[in-house]
């Protein structure tokens, strides 16, 4: 079995995806991109509770890295085209997660993405977001629909945590691009200092 890094948002999908990885016997390290001040403290609280539940279920430690993502969002909002903000945001999340994977000796990255659930989860957007990293991306839920995911979430006890009151990401643009081109994304990224942003983000990681 392999060791991987899983992006945990506090939503319904990521604990279900993590459940499938753990059930297969993989070792997983969690990464939560802390989006404050563009959200409140509820996503982090939900991730902490998700992991407590899954740690107990699978008797695994599942360390959690919490990385500050708000400063990255501010840099992107100030300097880049808002329409492609979700793809840019995810590229920085993936890069940060890959740095944690290197630190943790992990060989894959994982996410709870399912195709087409939200505007940012189109094939072209996923491809352009993950073009920023080299490690393979595992998406256990890619072909699931929302009802299937919710049913599993209820069965493993994470649904009630995910659906507690919370604040959505306020950095999402009104009309996010659903089809992006990598050339365009790379041009936008030239407007910010990618390496410095990632260095700052990872340096401030805390482990829970």
């Amino acid at each position: 079995m392999a060791r991987g890094v899983m992006l945990m948002s506090g939503g319904i999908d990521s604990p279900v995806a993590l459940h499938y990885l753990l059930r297969q016997g993989h070792e997983v390290v969690g990464v939560h991109m802390d989006n404050r001040p563009f959200t409140d403290d509820s996503p982090l609280a939900k991730v902490v509770d998700h992991l407590a539940m899954l740690r107990e279920r699978y008797a695994q430690p599942i360390p959690l890295y919490v990385l500050p993502h708000g400063p990255t969002q501010i840099a992107l909002m100030r300097n880049t085209d808002r329409h492609v903000g979700c793809v840019l945001c995810r590229r920085f999340m993936w890069r940060s997660a890959e740095r944690i994977a290197e630190r943790e000796g992990a060989s894959f990255l994982a996410t709870g993405e399912a195709l087409g659930q939200v505007a940012s989860q189109t094939l072209s957007n996923m491809r352009n977001a993950t073009a920023s990293v080299r490690l393979p991306i595992v998406r256990p839920l890619i072909g699931f629909d929302k009802q299937e995911i919710e049913a599993v979430a209820k069965s493993i006890g994470t649904y009630e945590i995910s659906t507690r009151p919370g604040l959505c990401c306020q950095a999402v643009p009104d009309r996010p691009a659903t089809r992006t081109h990598l050339v365009q994304i790379l041009q936008e990224e030239e407007r910010v200092d990618v390496e410095r942003i990632i260095d700052d983000c990872v340096r401030q990681a805390t482990i829970l």
């Binding site: 100030r78 329409h83 659903t178």
Partner: protein, 113 residues
């Protein structure tokens, strides 16, 4: 005119919208808030101000109060009415910020809207 607060769909915050729509000059709003000693994060298309509860102030006039307490949200809305003259006459915005920078064509493949 901001008439009422309503709870957001995820029940994590309250929001207020101007009726009729009335944009906020964010540069001017930031100046007014900071002159009162209020910490402001400027993300160009929105401000995040640390009042009694944290408030997101969007260019389109939307105010989002990060609290689940409607009374606290109402108090902060009242405070902002005075600080930012929210219910004043429509303001032409000579200092309005430029649109998001873009070197890309605004073709049909840009947006899901």
């Amino acid at each position: 005119m901001y008439r009422a607060l309503r709870i957001c769909s995820n029940r994590g915050a309250y929001e207020a919208l101007p009726e009729p729509p009335r944009p906020i000059d964010l540069a001017r709003a930031r100046g007014r808030l900071e002159r009162q000693g209020i910490a402001v994060v400027d993300a160009r298309v929105m401000l995040i101000a640390a009042l009694e509860v944290e408030v997101t102030i969007s260019q389109n006039g939307r105010l989002l109060f990060k609290t689940r307490d409607p009374a606290a949200a109402e108090r902060v809305l009242d405070q902002l009415r005075g600080l930012l003259e929210l219910d004043g006459p429509p303001v032409e915005s000579p200092n309005a910020r430029p649109p998001a920078p873009s070197r890309t064509a605004k073709g049909g493949n840009q947006s899901g809207g």
